[in-house]
């Protein structure tokens, strides 16, 4: 099963690059001109995200470097203990929605320290794989089209993150045993 999916992932983009231009040509589309026409908006779209990402990453960076992250982790630990989250992976859970790179760093560190096949190693691997950098995605996607009022998107994203986190803990405990 895994091999099939892995193979599919490898082929997906080359296949798209093969099928799309061919299909377009069969439909009588001027392939080169149309591609250039579409690609023209790339620069503007990317540059438009700059102010939004600057705002978000400056805040995240200050929050991390100042040690405020650790304070938040300490404050949240009683709540997160309730859902059975081990203290070792707590910083990862808090960092995951804010910064993908930082969360990956924490996950690597836990895997290195406790071993990839330990309970903690498996748990943090699942958490890293299943949750997303919600704030980064929100900032980037909304920023690219100039949306400033996010309405319920923030609370919705965090609700999804939290439920994925709880599910990860529960599933890893059930599949790999309580202590791993």
């Amino acid at each position: 099963m895994f091999e099939v999916i892995a193979e599919l992932s490898r082929w997906a983009i080359p296949l798209i690059l093969l099928v799309v231009p061919l299909a377009a040509m069969l439909r009588g589309v001027k392939v080169y001109e149309t591609f250039v026409d579409g690609a023209e908006a790339g620069f503007a779209t990317a540059v438009k995200t700059i102010p939004y990402l600057v705002a978000m990453l400056v805040a995240v960076s200050i929050f991390r470097a100042s040690g405020a992250m650790e304070v938040l982790v300490a404050a949240l630990s009683p709540v997160l203990n309730l859902i059975g989250l081990p203290a070792e992976v707590l910083p990862h859970a808090v960092m995951r929605p804010l910064s993908g790179g930082a969360a990956l760093g924490i996950a690597s560190d836990i895997i290195k320290t406790y071993g990839p096949d330990s309970f903690l190693g498996r748990l943090v691997s699942t958490m890293q794989g299943s949750c997303d950098t919600t704030f980064y995605v929100l900032t980037l996607y909304f920023g690219s089209v100039g949306i400033r009022k996010y309405r319920h998107a923030v609370i919705l994203g965090l609700t999804a993150d939290l439920s994925t986190l709880i599910a990860s803990i529960f599933i890893v405990r059930v599949i790999f045993g309580l202590e791993g």
Partner: protein
Amino acid sequence: MVNIVWLVMIVFGILVAGANGNIDVVTKAALDGANDAVKISLSLIAIISFWLGIMKLAEEAGLVRALALLVRPVMRFLFPSVPKDHPAMGAIVMNLSANILGLGNAATPMGLIAMRELQNLNQGRDSASDAMCTFLALNTSCITLIPTTIIGIRLLYGSTDPTCIVGPTIMATAFGMTVAIVADRVLRLLYSEKRR
């Protein structure tokens, strides 16, 4: 909400840094963050241009429309405000497929294309539409078949079974996605468009 989160991160960060006696890190962190942001945005130019070109071809060839047609029942349920056969539907499906397959490089540009189409429907307002909120919730909670990066790290540190987390990851994301869809329906009523 985002205003509060943003303000709290900065104010709280500065206060903690001050209390810990390392106020110096704040200035450096702020500049580092800004620097990272610009680097990320600029690195997106290449890949977004590339995928915008391919998507334009796919659109002209009628492939985006065909894809949207294929998954219409599900998409009509999730995005009732988007007209059927609208290019946004095709772009959303492309983005979610890329996410499921773990193709991060393709997923982001597809997502930005989908946002552009949704913003056309939103008449260029600066407030997120219902469809945009739904799309972002699906995007961030999307089922992941292969978490490639973390499998690589597990392998690096000598795991005997690096892919054993694939099953749990699929289950956890499936649960998260279900919650996201239900929560979206509830929040959509609470944050009804008429009340903004």
